[in-house]
Symmetry: C2
Subunit: 249 residues, 2 copies
């Protein structure tokens, strides 16, 4: 039965999509069957995997045209599959909110697939929206990528509070871990913020810290995960360590 | 009568709040009466101005408890005022969407203030939400801070498409400018993306490019604008040039 993880943080640009992609690719490289779900109307995860033309069946068709999830699945590789998003989902939240059981849509959609995958990883959009809520209601664990900058702390406590409220809708949900991303040890501010987060979260704070590494930004432009793009880079090294840490949970 | 500008981009972490803050502070330094409106439940703009304790009257009370906007205004300085946001707005979008004329709420709210300010600057949240829509319906011009990285291009065209649709709800709306932010000339990727954006937007692409500058991240942690924090920094120099460019529009 699949482990279902959601990568979420309402703060923008904290490395959610980069982390979801590379953790997914890393788990697939270990031999796991992994399904990635791009829950973001911006379609960053979909684009990061090199999919530039709008696929025929995307999350838009699944949420608003009752299409079957199996029809949307793209085989990135034998072990790594993707349910792509679509830019057409921008501004579609009001339409989605008119559906019955509007916070359970993703949970219901993935339930027939749980026996077919070892991991289902969900990439959520920034800001606390109905789509993010769907990702958190569907997940067993939420991983929170946090950028090592001052504003990361602001709102983190609130985000944890919201997760606590969602536990009423989803009793299984727990925090899988808080992941420090885009870390630059030369920046004093970064070190201060990492220490603060470690203090707040104790053993929920992942030991692996992801360093700022230009190869990670370049691999995105190249439409591939970091292990394919630059296996010897710091980015690949860090995400390998993170994959090992997550796979033991 | 106030010039009403919204700083918006559904991509996260592109410098919307940093830009709204420093353009506002810069225009106020020129002698303009400036009102900043923090439309983001994450409250980053509010925190950037050093407001850490939740004020009694915030955007939450204005949108959901019918409170008067004048009661929420905080005088940061004689010329620079703020309508603060609150973390309580996280997850409040569904409640807000049940209000009558739910996309006109901000427009109506600020209309009594238009004669009292030279500029009203709205900081919008990431992702295409009802709050973002309110900011775009209230604005005369939208400024789009864009980070000089590959994913910036993805979705930018869609965002422009959405702005075109919103012109049906708000005939006045036009693009004030696209602002390249967090630019690092050593990164080849950055240079390529800036050239692409310049090509796509022609004279809508602001001449001033905001460089990546550690003082900008530090000033945020210090709770003040860049001109107060580090007037001789590259960050202050770049935002000064941007303020001059914007003030001539
Ligand atoms: N460790 C890193 N080193 C260098 N660049 C990175 C790193 N992590 C992410 N980036 C880059 O930073 C930008 C933001 O990352 P990403 O899109 O993964 O964040 P996000 O949290 O998913 O953003 P959003 O809130 O918009 O969904 C991207 O351009 C990405 O390539
Ligand atoms: N030019 C710059 N140089 C250095 N750091 C910057 C610069 N611009 C922004 N930052 C930092 O980058 C982070 C993101 O910036 P900011 O919060 O302004 O973006 P945003 O688009 O408002 O994000 P969100 O999508 O979450 O609203 C902040 O920590 C900020 O301090
Ligand atoms: Mg993302
Ligand atoms: Mg912001």
């Amino acid at each position: 039965m699949a482990k279902i993880y959601c990568f979420s943080n309402h703060k923008g640009g904290t490395g959610k999509s980069t982390t979801c992609l590379n953790v997914g690719a890393g788990l697939a490289n270990q031999g796991n069957k992994v399904l990635l779900i791009d829950l973001d109307p911006q379609t960053n995860l979909t684009v990061m995997l090199g999919i530039y033309d709008r696929p025929k069946v995307t999350l838009y068709e699944l949420l608003l045209e009752n299409e079957k999830i199996e029809k949307s699945i793209i085989k990135i590789s034998e072990k790594l599959h993707l349910v792509p998003s679509s830019l057409d989902l921008s501004g579609a939240e009001i339409e989605i909110s008119q559906q019955k059981q509007r916070d359970q849509l993703i949970k219901k959609m993935i339930s027939p697939l749980e026996s077919r995958y070892d991991y289902i990883l969900i990439d959520a959009p920034p800001s606390m929206s109905l789509l993010t809520l769907n990702g958190l209601v569907a997940a067993q664990k939420v991983f929170i990528p946090v950028q090592s900058e001052f504003l990361a702390l602001n709102g983190l406590a609130k985000f944890i509070e919201i997760i606590e409220k969602i536990k009423k809708l989803n009793k299984e949900l727990e925090i899988g871990g808080v992941i420090a991303t885009r870390y630059d040890h030369r920046k004093v501010l970064n070190r201060g913020v990492v220490d603060k987060i470690r203090e707040l979260f104790g053993d929920k704070f992942m030991k692996t810290v992801i360093r700022e590494n230009i190869a990670l930004a370049e691999s995105v432009a190249g439409g591939m995960d970091i292990f394919t793009y630059s296996p010897k880079s710091n980015g690949a090294e860090d995400y390998n360590l993170l994959v090992n840490e997550i796979s033991k949970l």
